[in-house]
């Protein structure tokens, strides 16, 4: 990790942890969709309502699966950066920043739908949105740190 200062290493490590957590959350949502199982919802009732709403799919693909693919992509990017692949060294910071920012924007839109259109909140979706937001903040710090160099 000769090219990564400790602070950057911490940032990318945290991103890896968040990507794995996001992948776990969204993979569970995707599993419950395909296995047709009720979602464990922390005593709340909103998960199934949200998961079965007309907004829970993108061109027929469950949003949970889209989230899992997104998280897997982010994790791959982080691992490529940590492995110092040349292209990743050059572009991973910007790519992760752009990727997580689009994730935050889309998660914000889905949260808006939950609150004001579906009028039910899915705790798993909220958790995913929170994880992506944290990930975006980390990439923002990383990009700003690089811009200052």
């Amino acid at each position: 990790m000769a090219d990564l200062p400790v602070s950057a290493l911490v940032r990318w490590g945290a991103l890896a942890v968040l990507a794995i957590a996001a992948m776990g959350v969204s993979a569970y949502l995707a599993y419950s969709h395909y296995a047709d199982q009720p979602i464990v919802c922390a005593g709340l009732s909103g998960c199934d309502t949200v998961e079965n709403s007309e907004y829970s799919k993108l061109v027929g693909i469950p949003v949970g699966l889209v989230g899992a693919l997104f998280s897997a992509g982010l994790l791959a990017l982080v691992l490529a950066r940590l492995a110092r692949l040349p292209l990743a060294v050059e572009w991973a910071s910007l790519a992760a920043f752009s990727m997580t920012l689009s994730g935050v924007a889309f998660a914000a839109y889905l949260t808006y739908l939950e609150l004001f259109v579906i009028e039910d909140v899915c705790i798993w979706c909220t958790t995913f949105a929170a994880i992506v937001t944290f990930a975006w903040l980390i990439t923002l710090v990383d990009v700003l740190a690089l811009a200052r160099e």
Partner: protein
């Protein structure tokens, strides 16, 4: 030490420079240009300008906008229709008797009671995927009768839908209306207006159906069903009672089949002993 000696020593010392500059001068090997080019990628951010950050923000905005547009576009799943239309069920064969919310031969040896909510997604799964198999194998053959009871957990809209089904039941169309509700659950809002349109689509006597819906004369039945469910310990939907066997959730058909066969076997044993 004399002044002359000190001056002589200072002349011998190299000129003072900043420590980091000294490191740069002394430690940076004089690499040929080719090698310097190779090392550039190991210094990330060196070429990261503000324009590039804004460009990545723009890319993110475009991606998010595209995703939002895709999610708003109507998507037609297999066998479904867009949300602006209703899905109308196929009526059951006339030889399957139904009375109110009971489907099947009233004298069938085994009764399956389902506590359900028309807005519950797993009730929908059960109604569209499992119940038809039970009907085909056990109700048509007169071994089982199905009784639908309301356990309203999804609020006012679900209660209105349950009431509409009861109103349809007054015209012996409970199960047809039940199918209509579940087929359209999640894509059509169960407003009074839409529920009345459902009745019209199904060819019900709309005057009496609409009057029933407006008067909320179904309310006592809903309250009685929910109270009964609570007394039996129902905690969620769908909950089935196959005879005395409780099945919670939209379990596989195999689970139901096993429970039905077990209960039928028990009934046979009891009748043989009697």
């Amino acid at each position: 030490m004399g002044r002359k000696a000190r001056r002589r020593r200072e002349k011998k010392r190299p000129p003072r420079v900043a420590a980091d500059a000294k490191v740069e001068v002394s430690q940076e090997p004089a690499l040929p240009p080719r090698h310097r080019e190779k090392r550039r990628p190991t210094r990330p951010g060196k070429r990261l300008h503000h324009q590039m950050i804004w460009a990545s923000v723009a890319v993110a905005a475009v991606v998010a906008t595209v995703l939002i547009f895709i999610s708003l576009a109507p998507w037609e799943s297999a066998g479904g229709t867009t949300s602006s239309e209703f899905i109308v069920p196929t009526p059951r064969p006339a030889d399957i008797p139904s009375q109110g919310s009971t489907l099947g031969d009233p004298n069938a040896p085994l009764t399956i009671i389902e506590y359900s909510d028309f807005l519950c997604p797993y009730c929908r799964t059960a109604a569209l995927n499992i119940v038809p198999q039970i009907e085909a194998e056990y109700v048509v053959t007169g071994k089982v009768k199905l009784v639908f009871k309301h356990f309203v957990v999804h609020g006012q809209e679900a209660a209105l839908a349950a009431g509409a089904a009861e109103c349809a039941g007054q015209q012996d169309a409970f199960w047809l209306y039940h199918d209509m509700l579940f087929l359209n659950s999640g894509t059509v809002d169960f407003t009074t207006e839409n529920l009345k349109q459902f009745g019209e689509e199904l060819g019900l006597d709309t005057d009496s159906f609409n009057a029933c819906l407006d008067s909320q004369s179904y309310m006592d039945k809903l309250v009685a069903d929910v109270d009964e469910a609570r007394r039996r310990g129902v905690e969620g939907t769908p909950t089935f009672y196959v005879g005395q066997t409780q099945i919670v959730g939209a379990k596989s058909y195999d689970t139901f089949q096993t429970a039905i066969e077990d209960e039928l076997a028990k009934l046979t044993e009891t009748s043989e002993e009697g």
